[in-house]
Amino acid sequence: MSRLTACINAVKAANRKVLIPYLVAGDPDGDTTVALMHQLVSDGADVLELGMPFSDPSSDGAIIQLGAERALRQGTSLHTVFVIVSAFRKTDSHTPIVLMGYLNPLEAIGYASFVTQAADAGADGILIVDLPVSEAQSLLALTRPRDLDMIFLVAPTTTESRLSAICENSSGYIYYVSLKGVTGAAIIDTGEIRDRVSALRHRTQLPIVVGFGIKDTHSANAMAAISDGVIVGSALVQKIGELTENGKRDAAAIAESTALIKDIRQSLNA
């Protein structure tokens, strides 16, 4: 069993909801990203989604694009991402890390090299937003032997025939996209999401976590109530952006930038 699956099973066994913050590797810089990751774990994160910055993130909204641009200005590359994961693993061997990004950087270094370096660094899962299941077989053939989980998105528009393929090829968890749009947009219809998630339950045993549009305790509670957990991205990246704006990198500033995750954890546990 992968570290990711074991972790989520343990959370569910404890009757808790999975909390997954997303941050961009290298934003505001590599060392601070490692510090932010540890802070997020102490705030109550169960799994970390670490964004691999890309110049043209067409499935993301403006907030995450700006985070990626900050990281790229610092010279962040996939190599930096692996260094960050390795550094984090020196003192945390239990928190699963999912690398999330776009395909072109993987094409540039080669899938085999990517998978080897990601697994060696201590990553647990991979989510490539512009790689649908139908194009993912060559990457899957490399990730499976290394016990890396491949996570795929399910959207409100996903058809029945696609659902089958996604469920068959996914491991770790299913990332349910709450809305039609990009990251950071506002959730409109909780009822529809509930119906879709419960329909998805009949298709898969995998945990289902909801992302896109979760920005505060209210939206987190609403989504957690109908799923196994939530992913919080843009709202956190927005706060992390302030570290660049105010030029602060100290422990207090880092703790302040992740305070939202601490609040959501407490609210989910209440």
């Binding site: 890309f54 110049s55 043209d56 993130p57 067409s58 499935s59 909204g61 403006a62 694009q65 641009e69 790229l72 590359s77 996939l78 190599h79 776009y102 395909l103 072109n104 950087p105 993987l106 094409e107 540039a108 270094i109 937003v129 512009d130 790689l131 649908p132 139908s134 194009e135 795929f152 998105l153 399910v154 959207a155 409100p156 528009t157 996903t158 058809t159 696609r162 996604i166 996209v177 039609k180 749009g181 990009v182 947009a185």
Partner: protein, 427 residues
Amino acid sequence: MSALETAVTAAAPAIAPGVVPETIASTGQDQFSGPDVHGHFGQYGGVFVGETLMAAVEELDKVYRKLSKEPSFWQAFDHDMKHYVGRPSPLYYAERLSKKFGGAKIVLKREDLNHTGAHKINNTIGQALLAKYMGKPRIIAETGAGQHGVASATVAARLGLECNVYMGADDVQRQSANVYRMKLMGANVIPVTSGSRTLKDALNEALRDWATNVDNTYYIIGTVAGPHPYPMLVRDFQAIIGREARAQSLLEYGRLPDALVACVGGGSNAIGLFHPFLRDSDVAIYGVEAGGDGIETGRHAAPLSAGKPGVLHGNRTYVMSDANGQIVETHSVSAGLDYPGVGPEHAWLKDIGRANYVSVTDTEALDAFRMLSRMEGIIPALESAHGLAYACKLAATMRPDQFIVVNLSGRGDKDINTVAKIDGISV
């Protein structure tokens, strides 16, 4: 039946049974090959978009595969091509220009004479038919130089559809006349301030809009890139250029051309000219990329000449990216060629060796722009001037009994301010 129409019919390649077009009829059936059912041209093409858009892309594929088998669809397309666009566009022998180089005849396929002034309208007419069939009340498009934006605004106005055009904020400044043209036709022009503020960022923003408004929105992609089925269907609409040119060559010169030349940004005018000739192995094919300040400077927009395979905007193709896979900024005097990717079918044609891809610099293109204006009384688009510049070099190496068809993909009115500025003149 006119002489041209007769010649086209005689020249038409084998057509699928049940599809009996008259004259210059479009069929979408007479293709060299590919893509396969998943949209692949060899290792290129495919579908690489976020999950939210997958259903929309699959639906479009289904609709297009159905409609493109119906003769009535192509009849409606051809009717608009003739009565609204003004096709067929002439094949014009540029005699003075040809004689200057003393080699092969340079013959221009005059797409600049189309309604709206470029080949872009061929594609937007076709995609507007798809949008109408699918019942989508809202159109979105991306644009660089503004030609595709204008062509999209044009068809949207004609069908009474809402039209939103994404355009890089820098391009909005560079191409203010086209911005105003779009607005006159009722389109909203949305300046894109993210990233490098040019065409690739406009494409990102259009994809975001589409994901958000996928239920009621049709996305008219302006070139043979994007996820499958766009590279296929845009090519099928633009292939009218090559079908006409092929028939006109047979009629007016009694044989096929020795070479074809077209500029390549995303590559829609080029694939449109090339495609009906792909099986004619004696016809040499040249795609001309934007060399900017020169390939060796790194400041260019020539992914086929100096890029490598990668994935951008929904398809696998040659892209300009750094060692870490980040897309790099491109440079070209021509806004319409200023794009870091290229249509996947071109990537495949390069790899199999059926087409040659070369580049010319900004300076060479500007020289050709001025030369055609002064020697033939035709002001070409800066994009088309790239093809022309290479054709002049090529002609000089060939015999006077040979001829080259150059796709003059657009007219240069939109570029007058750019060229005047380079010349230090205020218009």
